[in-house]
Amino acid sequence: MTSMEFSPQTIDFTAIMPIIIISAGILVTLLLPFAAKGRAKIINPLVALIVLLAAFISSARIWDLGRASFDGMYTADNATLFASFIFIIVAFITVIAITARYCPFLRSPDGEGLFASPEVFPLMLTVVVGAIVMSASRNLILTFLAIETLSIPLYVLAGMNLSSERSKEASLKYFLTGAFASGFLAYGISLIYGAVGKLGYHAILDACSPTAADYTLYAGLALVAVGFGFKVALVPFHAWVPDVYQGSPALISGFMASLVKAAGFTAILRFFGEGIVPLYGIWWVAIAIIAALTMTVGNLMALNQIVLKRLLAYSSIAHAGYLLLAVLIIGKEWSEKGVTAGAPLGDAMQCAFFYLAGYVFAIIGSFAIIWWLTPSDKEGALLEIDDVRGLNDRHPLHAALFALFLFSLAGFPITAGFLGKFFLFASALSHGFILLVVFALLNAVLSAYYYLKIIVAMYMKSAPEHASLCEEPSPNPWIYAVVWTCTLATLWLGIIPASILGLLGSVSVGG
């Protein structure tokens, strides 16, 4: 920190190696179609997969090393790395699933007129870069840019299915609300800048004191919370979610519901935990109210929903509400103990990451199955609960796996969802958030209803007269790989969580 003279030594390239690799991958996947013509269809996703793999390995190599780069603006500590693993795996899964329909020789009847353009891969990789930087950033302006890097490709991906009016509408809605929320985020950042004079989390941490009357700072952090809240779909910044998830191609919805939420929460935990934690006494009320609202509204709106994608969208809103508990726990824990670099993450962060990991696989698995089942003559956006009626009789495996994901989302034992909730709620309770936990549990009870509605339809109702599902869901190995990965992860986390918890136990706040 002492010398601001720029020299290459101040950049730790190992720390940013994953994003360098992925950025290179973006260029390659962008240019390759011009060189490889028709073969690009298979080469392009292959490159994307290799790039993701390389990024994964380069992240794994710096595990436990706590590398920071750019004067600590970018910190590749274990929390970042764990989040990066989630992002990369999600992207990996999505690329494989897309490829299954994208490749001419693997193509099944595609209802969503999907992904005819090879640009989908560079765009997805850009999202991953944005997500990784979001989770690593310890400077608000970098966080802001990372959020934009993540969002802008997503606006496009949401509208990727150009033959669908709904997809384009989703894109427009996402974009307009997203840009509006970005405005608030940027304004909040400027107010914080005005109050503190710097945007590094450490500088903010040092500058803010709960006793000063620095209302500009408070206004700033409230507006920043709005911006973050939009990204992870907290109520009342959630309204875009159902429309966008419904209109976007199902896999992109899954991608958004998993990766964006994970990235958003990692960034929130960082900012609230490492930046403004001394002000916990000032922001916790607002966060607690938002948490309660988010879970309740999400679940209530899902209750009578019949369109599958919208139902999952509302459910993802509710999950954001539960996750917000982790922010409160971290705030409370760290405002009492004080943050020290290198300290173990503590329960809350561990719970949050465990919950995220469990949630991510369940939700992306669910969307993958919806996408898989989408019939050729119907838009996935319109798939209703009635359409999966009697699914068990026709495709027992699909039904079983879908049911498993729904159980995980609902929080039934032996799935990841149960333990996620268990850890999170138990931790919240031990930190004294009794009322909120009771509220969350009531919500969890309520939510079982709509997840079960789907399971009832699949298992206990006879199939509709004329099948409105994809009659022969493509029996291709790629999709099996995707869904089975999610299944195994869901069960693995639910039955043998020790392995992941062990990993998380060693996760610490970056130095």
Binding site: I141, F144, L145, E148, I152, Y155, V156, G159, L162, E165, R166, K168, E169, A170, S171, L172, K173, F175, L176, A179, F180, S182, G183, A186, Y187, I189, S190, L191, Y193, G194, G197, K198, L199, P242, D243, Q246, G247, R310, A381
Partner: protein, 102 residues
């Protein structure tokens, strides 16, 4: 140096930001909505530069510069989305894009 109080500038920024926010809600033409968002971002820039000037940190200008870049990127994508959606329609009405609700 200047003797205009910082408060004037920051209030101007807040005012422009609020006007932009109103515009987003009351306009039905997506292009105008988008223009209102640009106005909001301009207000943010003004805010950054004001603080940069009065707190004497040059960084505010760097932030403003980065923000302009972001705005430019948003414009590129945003206008493309608007064109893609309304190309086939006679009316450019954002309220018409409501196939999905409830």
């Amino acid at each position: 140096m200047t003797d205009v109080p910082m408060f004037y500038y920051t209030t101007l920024a807040a005012l422009l930001f609020s006007i932009g926010a109103v515009g987003v809600i009351v306009k039905r033409n997506p292009i105008l909505i988008f223009m209102s968002i640009e106005l909001m971002l301009n207000a943010v820039n003004l805010s950054f530069i004001t603080y940069s000037r009065y707190l004497h940190f040059l960084e505010g200008q760097v932030y403003a510069f980065l923000l302009i870049t972001v705005a430019a990127a948003e414009v590129a994508v945003g206008l493309a989305i608007i064109v893609a959606l309304f190309r086939s329609k006679r009316e450019v009405d954002v309220d018409a894009a409501s196939l999905m609700k409830e």
